[in-house]
Amino acid sequence: MIKYLFERDTWQEVLGSMSKNKLRTGITMIGVWWGILLLIALLGSAKGMENSFNKFFGDFATNSVFIWGQNTSRPFQGFQEGRRVELTLSDAKRIEENITGVEFVVPRNQNQAQVIKGTQSANFSIAGDFPLLDLVQKKKMINGRFLNTSDIENKRKVAVITIDTYEQLFDKDEQAVGQIVKINNSNFTVIGVIEEDQFDNNNIHIPFTTFQQMYNLGEKIGWLMVTGKSEYNIKQIEEDTKLLLRNMNNIHPKDQRAFGSFNLGKEFGKLTGFLKGMQFLTWFVGIATLIAGVFAIGNILLITVKERTKEIGVRRALGATPFEIKRQIVTEAVFLTMISGLLGIITGGWILIAIDAMFGQGLDATLVNASVPISVVFLALMILVALGTVIGLIPAFKATSVRPIQALREE
């Protein structure tokens, strides 16, 4: 059998009958070629979309929920409804101690402030942060360092600014770290420059304690971010946390409006679900197209077998065994699927390259690194060859089930 595959005659027979039937060869090849091309282009694009989502979220702790105080909507224990609820640092501490599954609790404050640097002056959003923020929302440092515990303890007047802020306040190529900027008329030393972050619109980060002092906030915090350990359900953590907060702040246990929240984990879950669904759809569509293509091959082979009944009859009269006839037809089918499959893989690759050139460049690319793993490509090729064999067998059996005498009578 191996010898058969390497014989010149084998291929002469296959190529001979293929080139004789150029139209059917062409049509069949287009069928499979299109199927595999679609599969690769779709899978690659889906992968690219997934990559771009992953890049978008980056190192951001997606299993997290943001919580802030609002106004109560029910009277409770002598308090009127409509009372303003404000979170405090002790709330944060209690959450960390009492809620199971919590990984980090990150309290934050933010405000607008006027910032002056030399003759430049502008309003910026300024945040009072703990170094912990860097763990849940990775800050990409361009220069210098992020806030540390010593800054917090000593209430240092230091600031980490984003790159956009830097560009507004500083001259091009000017060294920012070590420079002084005026925030609400106090001098702050810039200690670091970070990249912009889609999830954090603050321009300047200063130590939490410094912020407290500057705005005279006492224990109050603007909002907090709770991240859950990956094995815990962030929805449950959100519920538990809110219940605890209501208990601690004399709020009716069923008061749903006292605390506002945004559950990123839940939203992210929807998104990954969507991605999974899309990937499934891609596979489904791709494989269905592929099967359709292979069936087209089978169909056309079957038609040509009918056309070639006479030729097959002659071959059998000349001493071809049914096995040899089947072998040739199957070889033709497999060869056709293989070649067109490979062409599909190649052109699919080109399409991915084109997609990458069109949508995959720049920071906010819609499709990042649209690609298909080589294992998937091989799997697809294997499926093709297997289907090609099976589909080739149908006309092959059809061809040999006709007795040669009948075949020769066909006019």
């Binding site: 002469q12 001979g16 080139s19 009859g313 009269a317 001493g319 071809a320 065994t321 040999t400 020769l408």
Partner: protein
């Protein structure tokens, strides 16, 4: 060399059976040149198909070169066809995307002969039919007579014991027919056994023995004096 005893064959037609061959007895010796004659429906084609192992008899025995031909599976039948028999058809049945040489070499391919050797054999046989210069031509580029000569070369390529020709001149004009018959006579002179199915008396007269079939039985079987034809190519 060929022995047929009490051969019967019927074909189903709807619910009934059409009894085509009703007890054929036939002996053919090595080196004979036999014409099988009969009007259409006499059963001559069926007989040829059974002799050619393209079809099977319902009852009776058929022995070819001392080998009983019975209950063969397709694979065995293919091997016997290849080894014992050479076919020449009325419509030539050349494979139209193969050139003359490749067509002649095809039976040898199915014998498993190596390519080089095969083409050498094929060239030899093509030269025998005088068409070596046309080796690389496709059937569509050949005349009817040339096509039939290529077909004869193909039938001879595997050195068969028996050459079966089904109306070999049926599609040819009379001059070409004579040319083909002259060639078949030459082959017979060299010792080949030939069985020719025809409905033309003129062609039958060029053989050495005429068997007449009617309604599935042999009504006449006689040796005749061969009318020699000269090829005027």
């Amino acid at each position: 060399m060929l022995s047929i005893k009490n051969l019967h064959k019927s074909y189903p037609i709807g619910d009934s059976q059409l009894h085509v061959l009703k007890g054929i007895n036939l002996e053919v010796e090595q080196g004979e040149m036999v014409a099988i004659m009969g009007s259409s429906g006499s059963g001559k084609s069926t007989l040829l198909n059974i002799i050619g192992i393209l079809d099977e008899a319902d009852s009776g025995t058929y022995t070819l070169d001392d080998v009983p031909i019975k209950d063969l599976n397709e694979k065995k039948a293919a091997v016997y066809r290849n080894k014992f028999l050479g076919f020449v058809f009325q419509s030539f049945n050349l494979i139209n995307y193969k050139n003359a040489l490749e067509n002649v070499a095809l039976p040898l391919y199915y014998q498993g002969m190596a390519r080089k050797e095969r083409l050498q054999h094929a060239r030899f046989h093509l030269e025998k039919v005088g068409l070596l210069n046309w080796a690389t031509h496709l059937p569509s580029e050949l005349s009817g007579g040339q096509k039939q000569r290529v077909a004869i070369a193909r039938a001879l390529a595997a050195e068969p014991k028996l050459l079966l020709a089904d109306e070999p001149t049926g599609a040819l004009d009379s001059a070409t027919s004579h040319e083909i018959m002259a060639f078949l006579q030459e082959l017979n002179d060299e010792g080949k056994t030939l069985l020719i199915v025809t409905h033309e008396e003129e062609i039958a007269a060029m053989t050495k023995r005429v068997i007449r079939l009617k309604d599935g039985v042999i009504i006449e079987d006689k040796k005749i004096k061969q009318h020699r034809v000269k090829a005027h190519v």
